[in-house]
């Protein structure tokens, strides 16, 4: 299953940008897209920030405007990590042209609901220009996330 998914990411024209303990990150300059696939059920905040700081470097160097975040392996999310990613990282990246975010959640209703509960208050914290210009959507697969 995992092998099939990895093959399909590469079949979609992506190459691996880097790998860390908790994630694989792929890039496609023609599609101006970066994909981050989480690999574990939980990512400690320090590793989470390190991961996203490394993704920032890819975004800044490759003119990336779309970010696909595959969180299907997650079972627990750390609220401060989520706030930092949602507000600070997305706002900073928005200023560098990363405006489209596609997310893939685990196929678990309770997890999707937990994300929704945690996310809704955060939406109000976005600066007005970011709120107006950012495009956040949820998809069921990487392929779907890449093409739409």
């Amino acid at each position: 299953m995992e092998l099939l998914e990895r093959t399909s990411i590469e079949d979609l024209g992506f190459k691996k940008a880097f790998s860390v303990k908790y994630a694989d990150v792929f890039e496609n300059e023609d599609k101006n897209t970066v994909i981050c696939v989480l690999l574990s059920d939980y990512v400690p905040i320090a590793d989470f920030r390190d991961l996203f700081n490394r993704i920032s470097a890819v975004v800044l160097s490759k003119n990336i405007n779309k970010f696909v975040f595959d969180k299907r392996s997650l079972r627990t999310f750390h609220q401060p990590s989520m706030e930092w990613y949602f507000i600070e990282w997305k706002t900073a990246m928005f200023k560098h042209g990363l405006t489209v975010h596609r997310k893939i959640l685990p196929d678990l209703a309770w997890f999707a609901k937990a994300v929704e509960i945690a996310r809704n208050p955060l939406l109000d914290k976005f600066p007005a220009d970011v709120r107006a210009g950012i495009d956040i959507g949820y998809r069921d697969s990487i392929e779907e996330a890449v093409i739409s």
Binding site: Y42, P44, T76, F77, H78, Q79, W110, A114, I117, A118
Partner: protein, 87 residues
């Protein structure tokens, strides 16, 4: 009269080997302890995160319950009002 007795030289060599082994074991267990401490720290952080998720879910359920009770109360109030209305 010979110099240092051979037994002493053997003892000294064994002592040196024991010290090297002690140092190796110290490094080995320090590394294991450090690794375990790191794993415990991640598990603690994960438990706090799970607690927070549960708390958020329960807060949400409580809020929904309150809203449901308010709706029920409003329906009851309307029924009472309507029962003494134009019939």
């Amino acid at each position: 009269m010979s110099g240092t007795p051979q037994a002493f030289m053997i003892f000294k060599e064994e002592l040196r080997k024991a010290e090297v082994e002690k140092k190796r074991l110290e490094l080995h267990y320090d590394s294991k302890i450090s690794n375990l401490s790191q794993q415990i720290s991640v598990l603690k952080e994960k438990m706090v995160a799970q607690e927070q998720m549960m708390k958020s879910a329960l807060d949400y359920a409580i809020k929904l319950e309150e809203e449901l009770n308010d709706v029920k109360q409003n329906i009851n109030n309307d029924l009472i009002k309507n029962s003494s209305g134009y019939h």
